[in-house]
């Protein structure tokens, strides 16, 4: 708390400065303090043996404290607080990058062990120990997600068209509200719902690919509706009015004018929705189960899928453990690559096919 007394001096008015002007730190001051703090904590970690996490914490605290003290003595406490908050906010952002980098690094490090051709061309049928692959799980994931997309895109698209073009009154408001609520359904509850629905017809032991697809589409529909709705709302009303004024029926206006104008955004939304559900584990775990062989028929019995495969390989490995763990990580790497590619694809679509606006 010596800072407050230091701060008194400038406002007390030493003759060197005009009364209303503050001293200002040079532009390089924050970087200089940061450098000094890093050096100091490096020295401390050599002498006191800090680990990486503590090193970062000490460096951040020293930067914030140092900058605050310096700024308070020259610029006054208000500016010092401002600088302190800048340090805090920036380090919060850096802190958020830590898990992201760590996750990617870990998955790459462990996953590349078994990321080979055999891994993608063999199933696990009859495999004990080394060898084997994820062909069956990859196909299962693609089939189940594909089915879920086929189910949810038409429903989601039409519902969004209803909300934007037709919906007025209480029904539309109810749908909007419940779509929002539906985005928050836990994935495991969606799985339980699909299971309960199919157990009604096929008995309590039902495990089929299509059950998983229904569970995934419960999660996917609200995402599709939301993003499509946003995109349809962006279509300028002048386009609709021009088309209607030419005597084009409303439904043809929507099909030929509104949807083509927003198709890039819709495609982006659908791609992101696929990316969101393709990594879902819990609903598939309880509705589809796992197999070791390849099953390409979603209407007949258990199927393997990437996330469930990774889960079981990891939590219930055979003997010896290592090949199972390697396969789990390689499957996780495959999954993360698929999700990243889908995300990139979504960005590309929206960039390349965005409608030309007048501005």
């Amino acid at each position: 708390m010596t800072l407050t007394t230091e701060q008194q001096t400038p406002s007390g008015g030493p003759s060197s400065r005009p009364a209303l002007a503050h001293g200002v730190l040079p532009r390089w001051a924050p970087w200089a303090v940061l450098g000094g703090a890093v050096l100091a904590s490096a020295a401390l970690s050599v002498t006191a043996g800090l680990n990486a996490a503590l090193f970062a914490v000490v460096a951040a605290v020293l930067t914030g404290g140092g900058l605050y003290a310096w700024s308070a003595s020259v610029e006054g406490t208000r500016r010092a607080t401002d600088r302190l908050v800048t340090v805090v906010v920036s380090s919060a952002f850096l802190l958020a990058l830590v898990p992201l980098v760590s996750v990617l690094w870990t998955v790459l490090g462990y996953g590349l062990e078994r990321f080979d051709l055999e891994f993608f061309t063999y199933s696990m049928r009859g495999i004990v120990g080394e060898g084997g692959g994820i062909y069956h799980a990859l196909m299962g994931t693609l089939i189940i997600t594909g089915l879920a997309t086929l189910l949810s895109v038409p429903i989601g698209l039409l519902a969004a068209v209803y909300l934007v073009e037709y919906g007025k009154g209480r029904l539309a408001r109810a749908i909007t509200f419940f779509v929002d609520v539906m985005t928050g359904i836990p994935s495991i509850v969606a799985g339980l719902f699909a299971f309960a629905l199919f157990a009604l017809f096929f008995g309590p032991g039902v495990r089929m690919g299509v059950v998983g697809a229904v569970a995934l589409s419960v999660l996917m529909i609200p995402v599709v509706v939301r993003s499509t709705e946003e995109m349809l709302k962006l279509v300028p009303n002048e386009l609709r009015e021009a088309s209607l004024a030419l005597g084009v029926p409303k439904w043809r206006t929507i099909v030929k004018v509104v949807i083509p104008t927003s198709i890039a955004g819709i495609a982006t939304g659908v791609t992101l929705a696929i990316a969101r559900v393709i990594g879902e584990t819990a609903p598939l775990l309880i509705t589809v189960g796992i197999t070791t062989g390849t099953n390409l028929n979603p209407f007949d019995g258990r199927m393997a899928s990437l996330p469930v495969f990774a889960y079981y390989s990891y939590v219930a490995p055979g003997v010896p453990r290592d090949p199972y763990l390697d396969r789990a990580w390689a499957a996780a790497l495959t999954l993360i690559l698929i999700v990243m590619v889908l995300n990139l694809l979504a960005r590309l679509i929206s960039r390349l096919f965005a409608p030309k606006t007048g501005r």
Binding site: V89, A96, L157, Y162, A174, V179, I185, Y311, V339, N343
Partner: protein
Amino acid sequence: MTTTTAGSGRRTVQRPGDRIFTGSTLAAGALILVILAGVAVFLLTNAWPAVAADPADVPGGNGVIAYTVPLVFGTLLGASLALLMAAPLAVAIALFISHYAPRRLASLLGYVVDLLAAVPSIIYGLWGFTVLAPKTVGLSVWLEEHLGFLPFFSGPASSTGRTMLTVGIVLGVMILPIITAVSREVFLQTPRLHEEAALALGATRWEMIRMTVLPFGKPGVISASMLGLGRALGETMAVAIVLSASPGLMSLNLISSSNPSTVAANIALQFPESSGLAVNTLIFTGLVLFAITLAVNMLARWIIARRAEFSGAN
């Protein structure tokens, strides 16, 4: 829109195409409501046998309520821990992206944070188990030594790190991008004139944020946190893999190796090997989870909707 009906009958020709199209879009919209109602109804009918059954037959032997309460307790504990860690951090990150980062970089940085949301939960589970859990052991031991008088850190510290604390951190990382994204949107909507007025009066950047951005964004941040809370409540795989759970336990201890399980993780772990009444019991717990997340989400959406009426956007 409906003014044409007042004109002569000739003008209101209903083409078959229009009728079919209107009908199918309406059906799709209604189907969504039906699905949501179906989720509730199917879970209810499948959960009922567990409620009606003799308490001794339900797993645990004390009836379905006694089975569910510790799970709900664990779920709430883990999710609130996650929220406690993620919410302040997310607000800071959202401020960084919306008001501190250079304009050109802002959208790129936002995308980087969004990448955190793209990582599937199973991978967070594997990461939490392999990388994070061992790293928290040192922290747990330190907490037990220095803050052991608090019920949260009474120990004994787990040697594997598969604790509620680790689960809280993993869940916090998972809900961080959601809270950040929504808060960022709200912060960016702060009326430009308010901000400039504050700056013109001589406020520093932080004072400007405290006086204009934060009051304006407060409801948005609250509802964003509730959305994050809803996500954390329902998170399954990461918890199932990371947590070393002892079902039926209710304890506030965050760092020991026996922890209360959560509803979602318990379903994922038990369901594949369950049959008969055990399945109904699990579905009942799922129904409770559904009700809790529904309430949290509806509250969050209600706060957003209430605010949208007087916000400047649209």
